[in-house]
Symmetry: C2
Subunit: 94 residues, 2 copies
DNA sequence: CTTTTTGGTTTATTTTATAAACTATTTTAT
DNA sequence: ATAAAATAGTTTATAAAATAAACCAAAAAG
């Protein structure tokens, strides 16, 4: 029987966010917005979901006087991502 | 920038259906139901969507006097699946 | 100084996925 | 023979998600 796909990761935008965060130390909101080609609203919502699940850590600070949102994947997030990829391979292997 | 993921394929159940249909000549409704571990209702709905998109072909006949629904992936479906897999690889490559 | 841009959040709307209810036939048990 | 349960689905309703639209505060530009 086919494996379950973590529904939190099985979403284009959240998967994109996690994929990027897997490959960098940390990423700013605007960077993620550009890379994922998403709207700010959608990105904000999805980042919150990943954060609530403990998959990422969000830090809100200021760059000068502008708000700055910085995201970083957590160990839990890394593990979840890796498990998701393994499950997914069952579906897409030739 | 990250590639688009065909939303019709980016759904656990529909991806599971397509994944199975990629590996067999054809499959019966009950077989798909068992393999994907889905409810009949959900399976019925998702098969219709794949069929409407032209990704699969559904044939309804009878086995004796019981209804028999047989599904087969189309060329268009194969192409879409392959493109989806390629796009997905962008997201999950290490 | 008022308009636009930046960097977001919140709320509303649309779309999806899932579940529940239903139909028709068939098999099993009484 | 017939009531109960199982098979093979479909249709409709509900819950959950994704997306878009509206909004806010501060800063930069004209």
């Amino acid at each position: 029987m086919l494996a379950e796909l973590d529904p939190l990761l099985h979403s284009q935008l959240r998967l994109g966010i996690m994929s990027i965060l897997m490959s960098v130390e940390s990423a700013e909101f605007t960077f993620l917005k550009e890379k994922t080609n998403s709207t700010a609203g959608n990105l904000s919502v999805q980042l919150d979901k990943l954060s609530e699940a403990g998959y990422i850590h969000i830090e809100k600070s200021f760059k000068g006087k502008k708000p700055l949102t910085t995201c970083k994947i957590t160990n839990k997030g890394i593990k979840a991502f890796e498990e998701y990829v393994n499950a997914l391979k069952q579906y897409i292997k030739p």
